[in-house]
Every structure is written in structure tokens, then in C-alpha cells.
Symmetry: C2
Subunit: 256 residues, 2 copies
């Protein structure tokens, strides 16, 4: 019943965190209980929802290292129906510590399998790397949401991401699929954007989501106030676009 | 005599690769022989200078694993005075393979110490992570150039980057210093940009470089043509800004 969506792209700065926060908030604002899990040692999803850095607080690291459960770690956010598993800089050690562990790719999946909380949707914010942290997210996920900037370097990274997806399917998880590709910080007027979008459409077909997220200063300001953009400025173009994205995904999954 | 500048920021998408390519090209166009080293498994600096992916070609991975020297690996680019050490996806294995090697942080520095090529300046493009690859770059470097977007998440990452710099200084390399912080994709008109810039100025003082790089579509288009922006569109605002940045750094170092 619960669906786990990993927000993933090894290219940096394409809007993974921004999409993870505002999509999970979008689901919650539509009344769907949602859990956001910050899987990045940089802890941007955690900070962007208003939680200060706290090295002693339970985090995703506590879960991956087996010291705590999801229930013990989850925090209520200021958004009704939205809970958070925070990250911490301790997570940076996990990439090294887990290297030789037998079940190193399954820690998050196993922890979620034991979790009986109320959330219907789980969103995972991944770091800009195809490392053990992202692997845990991929193996725990039912589907991948890929934020993309319509620019050259982001396009170059797509084939490698898809190869990783195929390897995870073959090796661990045949049911893993692409939820969709969402164009972020999108300005459709430039030639570059049009060319890259064409490439992506050829490659992904109708997995290329209808909703695109425009560049909008309110989206960049919201995390400095510790809020999703829909709470910070509900009438902004960014807020409307992320609500539209949440609804598109809910409809495709026949959730609402 | 040779100076090594690492372009570093663990935050993704702040313009490390774009700055590494266009700064190294800027030095070369000013007649200073320069070497660009792509230290990122995503190999964006390599692709952005027009080199197709080639898993068999010697790369930074060959150097870090001790199979090849800098001389054997360096390639001439289409820009006079600009040479390149390409990256390759094999590099992603290095983070795991080097974990237990005794001199794991010194591979690049040792290789450059043996290199007697003509380049006066070496620019290192780093991945969005504080991992073994970036550590090799930091230990090999004389100074760090930190590209920053004037936005909230980039600001949050600064203290961690500075802590890493201090650890590398104390542990390995007391002479390592900040070359400068350069604002990229900069739009000084927004409140957010002004607030973040103020914070950065307080923190970095006159290390915050005078040159700022504006958002300019030509900068994003240039790598899709395999060229630095100064070659792709020399009269664009992006090209002029990166030439200004190259000159500011050359002057601060009394090179020209
Ligand atoms: N639609 C938008 N309009 C304006 N700014 C945006 C938008 N989306 C994201 N940003 C800003 O762009 C920057 C990069 O976004 P974000 O940090 O979410 O990307 P990321 O993929 O999570 O990065 P990383 O790879 O470092 O994890 C941030 O400063 C963010 O606030
Ligand atoms: N001044 C600029 N104007 C317009 N676009 C820019 C500018 N600088 C960089 N870009 C674009 O922004 C995106 C991010 O830049 P870039 O890839 O250089 O960042 P990065 O820090 O190297 O990312 P990563 O963390 O993934 O290595 C790229 O698509 C690039 O072409
Ligand atoms: Mg992020
Ligand atoms: Mg880069």
C-alpha cells in the first residue's frame, strides 16, 4: 500500500532536495500522510524544513547503522501530515563503514519493511553520487523520480543513471521503475532547453512528466525560512508548479 | 613555480566544472600554459572540452592507481596552451579501492611532484563530495577556489567546507589556503543574493573575489559544443566575466 519514491540524479544541483521537500509537502497538503527521508550527509532537506544541525539527534545514520528504528527517528514537521527522517553529517562515515557489510545495500529497505507508521508515501532525497547511500535509496524504492535541468551536463549524466537503474533491477529489485522525469528550473524559451527536452522526450517517452517547474525566486528563498514553497508563498509560480506536480503523480498512481 | 588550484565545493551544481574549464581556458588565452585535471567520475570537464567518453583512454584513474604518469595521460585540447587530464567512469571505483591504501590522499600530489611539463598553472575540477577524490585534490593543491551560488543551501555548506580545509591543513598541508570565493550565476538584484553575499563577505573578507559571473545562456551552451565559453562566444557576458576572473587571479598571484 505504501509507495516509496527516490528522488535521484548524480548530477549536482538539479533540484533534488527542492523537489523532495516540495513534493512531499504537496502530498501532505493534499491530505496524504507522507514521510520525507533525507539520505544526504549535507542534510539540505533537514535544514530546508527548519531543523537546525544537531549531531546528537537520531538520524538516517542511526537507522542505516542499526542503532535506531524508523519510528524512533521520525520527526513531526510544521506541515500537517508531513514527517521527516533527518540527516546528519555523521552520514558521511556510512559510505566507508558500510563498504564491507554484507547487507550494505538493504539497510534502508529492511528498516522500512519493519515500519508500521501511517504514511502512505515516502520520498527519499539522495546525494549527487551513485554511492552506497543512493544505492540504499534505490533498493528501498518502488520508483525513481528524476529531476533534470534542461542543460548539457545533466543530459550527459542520464545514460549512466539509467545503467545504474538497470543494474539495481537485475541485481536486487526487478520491480523498480521510473516514476517520471521532471524538468526543473525550466525556461522553455531557450534553444538549449528545447534541444535537451527533445532528447529527453525521445528517451523517456511519457515518463517525461507534463508538469515543469519554472525558475522562481520564491523556491530559492523558502528553505532559508525553513518552509516548503507552498507554505512560504502559496500563490507563487513555484508553489503552484509543485502542487501541480504532486497532483500529477497522485493521479498517475490513482491515489487521489 | 607551478601553482595548483583546486576548484572545490561539496554542494552540487554551483559551477565548479564551468569555472574550472573557463578559468583554465582564460589562463591559456592569456598565454599562460595551463593544465586542467578532471577529478570527477562524471567527467563533465572532459566532455565540456569536446572529448567523447572513452573507457580505454588513460585518465586520472590511471594516475591515481599508479598505472600511468601525468605525462603519459595529458591530452592537448583545441585551445592553445591548454592541456587536459581526462576523467573516466572507472574513477568511481577509486573511492572504494583507495579506502585502505596507505598513501590514499597523496596519489595526485605525488604524481604532480614527478611531472616536469611546461604548465605554469594547474586547475583541478572536483566532484560534489568531500570524498577521497576531493581529498586527493585538496592535498595536491596550493590553494582552493570556491565557486558559490548566492543561495541558501550553498551558504549552509560553507562551514563544512572550511572545516575540511582546516583538517587538511592540520593533517597534511599547512600551506593550503583559499585562493578566493567566486559568486557564480549571480543576480545581485535579489534580496536572497544580497543577504547571502553579505554573509560571505563577513566570513571571507577580501577572499571574496571582485569578479562575479552572471547567469548567461552562452555559458550553458558552450559545453554542448565542446568549447570554453570564450571560444564559443568571445563577446558574451559570460566570456568576458571568465576572462576578468582569470586576470584577477593572475594579478593577485603576480603572474601577469
Ligand atoms: N525552481 C527553482 N527556482 C529557483 N531556484 C531553484 C529552483 N529549484 C531549485 N532552486 C535552487 O537551486 C539550487 C539547487 O537546488 P537543490 O539544492 O534542490 O538541488 P540538488 O539536486 O538537491 O543539489 P545537490 O546535488 O547538491 O543535492 C538551490 O539553491 C535551490 O534553492
Ligand atoms: N554563468 C552561468 N550561466 C548559465 N548557466 C551556467 C552558468 N554557470 C554554470 N551554468 C550551468 O549550470 C549547471 C551547473 O554548472 P556545473 O555543472 O558547472 O556545476 P558543478 O558545480 O560542476 O556541478 P556538479 O556538482 O554536478 O559537479 C550546468 O548546466 C552549467 O552549464
Ligand atoms: Mg540536494
Ligand atoms: Mg562538475
Amino acid at each position: 500500500m505504501r509507495k516509496v519514491i527516490a528522488v535521484v540524479n548524480q548530477k549536482g544541483g538539479v533540484g533534488k532536495t527542492t523537489t523532495a521537500i516540495n513534493l512531499a509537502a504537496g502530498f501532505a497538503l493534499e491530505g496524504i500522510a507522507s514521510l520525507l527521508i533525507d539520505c544526504d550527509p549535507q542534510a539540505n532537506s533537514t535544514g530546508g524544513l527548519g531543523f537546525a544541525r544537531d549531531a546528537d539527534r537520531l538520524s538516517i545514520y542511526s537507522i542505516l547503522s542499526g542503532e535506531a528504528t524508523v519510528t524512533e527517528t521520525a520527526l513531526q514537521t510544521d506541515v500537517e501530515h508531513l514527517t521527516l527522517i533527518p540527516s546528519s553529517k555523521h552520514l558521511i562515515g556510512a559510505n566507508v563503514e558500510l563498504v564491507n557489510a554484507e547487507d550494505r545495500a538493504f539497510r534502508l529497505r529492511n528498516a522500512l519493511a519493519k515500519y508500521t507508521g501511517p504514511e502512505r508515501l515516502v520520498v527519499l532525497d539522495c546525494p549527487p553520487a551513485l554511492d552506497i547511500l543512493t544505492l540504499n535509496a534505490l533498493v528501498a524504492a518502488d520508483s525513481l523520480l528524476i529531476p533534470m535541468q534542461a542543460e548539457y551536463f545533466a543530459l550527459e549524466g542520464v545514460s549512466e543513471l539509467v545503467q545504474t537503474l538497470d543494474r539495481v533491477r537485475d541485481g536486487f529489485r526487478p520491480e523498480l521503475e521510473v516514476e517520471g522525469v521532471v524538468l526543473t528550473m525550466y525556461d522553455e524559451r531557450t534553444n538549449l532547453a528545447q534541444q535537451v527536452t527533445e532528447n529527453l522526450r525521445t528517451f523517456f517517452g511519457d515518463k517525461l512528466l507534463k508538469t515543469t517547474i519554472p525558475r522562481n525566486i520564491r523556491v530559492a528563498e523558502a528553505p532559508s525560512h525553513g518552509k516548503p514553497v507552498q507554505v512560504y508563498d502559496p500563490r507563487s509560480r513555484g508553489a503552484e508548479a509543485y502542487m501541480e506536480l504532486a497532483r500529477e503523480i497522485l493521479q498517475r498512481n490513482k491515489i487521489k
